[in-house]
Amino acid sequence: MSAALVMRASKRFGDRDALVDARLEVAAGTVHAVVGENGAGKSTLLKIVYGLVRADRGQLAIGQRCDLARHGVAAAQALGVGMVHQHGMLVPTLTLAENAALGHEPVRRGLLDLAAARRDLARAAARLEQSLDPDACAGALSVGEQQRAEIVMVVARAQKLLILDEPTALLAPGEVDRLLALLRRIAGDGCAVVLVSHKLDEVAEVADAITVLRAGRTVAELARGVATREVARAMVGGEPPPTGAPPPLPPADAAVVLMVRGLAVHDLSGAATLRPGAGSAGGLRQVSFEVRAGEVVGIAGVEGNGQRELVQAVVGLVPAAAGRITLGGVDMTHATVAARRAAGLAHVAEDRHHHGLVLDATVADNVMLGRLDEVARGLTIDRTRVRTLAERALADLDVRPADPSLAARALSGGNQQKLVVARELGRAAVRAVVAAQPTRGVDLAAQARIHDRLRAAAAAGAAVLVISADLDELFALCHRVAVLHRGAIAGELAGDALRAADARATLGAWMVGAA
């Protein structure tokens, strides 16, 4: 079989090696997974292929030899390479056809030919057996639907190599399966697919071949059928950590720390207001629950069913339209973010780039952000204390590179996530934790460590609320799991019912509103 991609590349950022003669060979018509720990160099390697990052040394052949020194996005696209970004690039207020036309506007007699765009998109969708309405407003679709639409658009133009960096991180279980099926279909048509994922069972399910990166080097090239344990071992160069179970149940009379009563929040996506009748579920309606000291409660659900509104209302970023929120028995419904944090609320933000980190600031500054009370001496900042806190946060979750003076932007995605978690859970006197997608984009070892920290927080008496699209994560952490569907709680499982064999099916049914 012919090769769609053959490359070797080295790349340094400052005085650190991101890639050391890393090798990647992808056969045409196959799905190829790239795996490795956080910071191993996966994103950097693929960005080089797509022309977003320039390699220092190496060779690159995409069907034909490329000049690495001149390689760029335009050159990559001309060779038939496409990339789907993890955070969708669709404009929510435009229809899918309009989105497809953006930047590649079909023109007829000097005017935009939207009919042609609609036709092309429908044809591409039909070829890939995707049911897709070119006139649907992008913002009204679920995250999974948007992503599949975007893939169809990219594949319609890039017919040789499709690159996806952690495409499944945002998806609910059912949508993951549909995505993987689509990728197989694309490969079946002869287009090579390269994807990065930290979820090894997905990799095992979909990939024909696997390239394992460790510390910037290619350490293994595995074929289909290798046990996931083997893959994990190759990634870390040793034994992978075991997965844990929820912490011991708190006594039934433990105090309620976080209480939410009849909470309603306006829709944050804006899709409903921008295009009336777009059919968005919209916001949060009448949600009530409570979390006791030492308890871990999970909120499951397909992204876009009110999770964002719930999290932001509880931490104080958006106002509640109705209802009450209390923390430790004190009414906090209208309290500022600062007041809630002072009362011991920790928040692992879902979107680390917006709500978690200031990317251009240093790691130390980012640790200080939100912990200013711990480092302030009057008006002055106690810089020794900053350094201590930063180093402790970096060591706590093994953030690499462990350099407090590095810009947060220079950390890999998973290491940025570790930094946010370490900062929030490392705060003094945490009484309640709101963790939204706490392990999004982190590798197995880091995932285990983050889960340990969340369990430890609960064991120390904090009330922990975990919002996750990953049911396995919720099973491993939670005493109770509630499902959000269209802004309301569709059901809740606890105790034996949550451990029962059919728990996954029950939750899954609630998630899609089929119960």
Binding site: K47, R54, A338, L357, D365, L369, G370, T380, I381, A407
Partner: protein, 350 residues
Amino acid sequence: MTPSGVDRGGDGARFAELRAAAVALLAAMAAGSLLIILAGASPLEVWRTLVARTFGDAYGAGQVVFRATPLVLTGLAVAVPLRAGLFNIGAEGQMIAAAMCCAVVGAALPAATPALLALPVAMAAAAVAGGAVGAATGALRAYRGAHEVIVAILLNAIIAGVALWLGNQWLFVGEATRTASVVEGARFAELGITGSSASSSVVVALVAAAAVGWLQTRSTIGFRWRMIGGGPDAALAAGISVARDRVSAMAAAGALAGLAGAHFVLGHKHAFEEGLGRGVGFLGVAVALLAQGRAAAIVVSAVLFAALSQGGLGVAELVPKELVDVLQAVVVLVAAATLGRTTSVGGGAR
């Protein structure tokens, strides 16, 4: 290097910024030389005269100090909000409002007020007036969502008009467009550099630069300004009141611009005059941009711009005087073009 002082990734990045500033200056000189040749003069001759008339003798140097003093202050008035993600184009209006207020208070003091009391009171009046204008601008942005640039442009016009109206109506004395003189005690001492106008207000400018430098790198408020500038959403999620700190940054800026007004009133004219300090607020934008908003660099940048305007007078017989204005603009343009690249770590790798 201690962590909190660096926000853009360590010593290497800072060195890169210095190098970029040097490149900007060299490029500006090259572009300037080209313009001089086009104007039919000899670049060497012009540059030589420019240096001789500024740093070549005591008078020239004194005048550079005099001109740099308010530029440091308006440069800081732009730099503080710049770090907080706000663009203060209103230093001009803040300065005029402050100068008016400062002149009125300075003249109203009892004639025998000792300098130890009169100077601080008159300066405080300036800082408060400028600060109030700045705070109003910031508040309109923070709480009403009105863009601070538009607000400031409008306020600049309003303040210039109101100052003139107040003056004509009540405050200007005699036939002149000039208010009553401030009392003896409320005047900055002349430094006495052979006839130059430099006064002890330069001390105020240097102290202000040091204070802003301290605020930016060592204080909690400076940290908050930096964070709301770098990532307002993340700052909000971390419990920082973005709205309040936008107001505080603009208030501090207004107070600094106000001190520039005090420099003209208390250190030079000893009264408010129509047209006083005109353009210094706007030039502060250039000073701050060239210095990338860093306090220490602003002093250097202000001296450079002061030297260009002072030296411009000296080369007037060699080249048209507009050329000097063009040169100042070229420095800023080249700086913007070359410095912009160093502001984020990692360049194209995103």
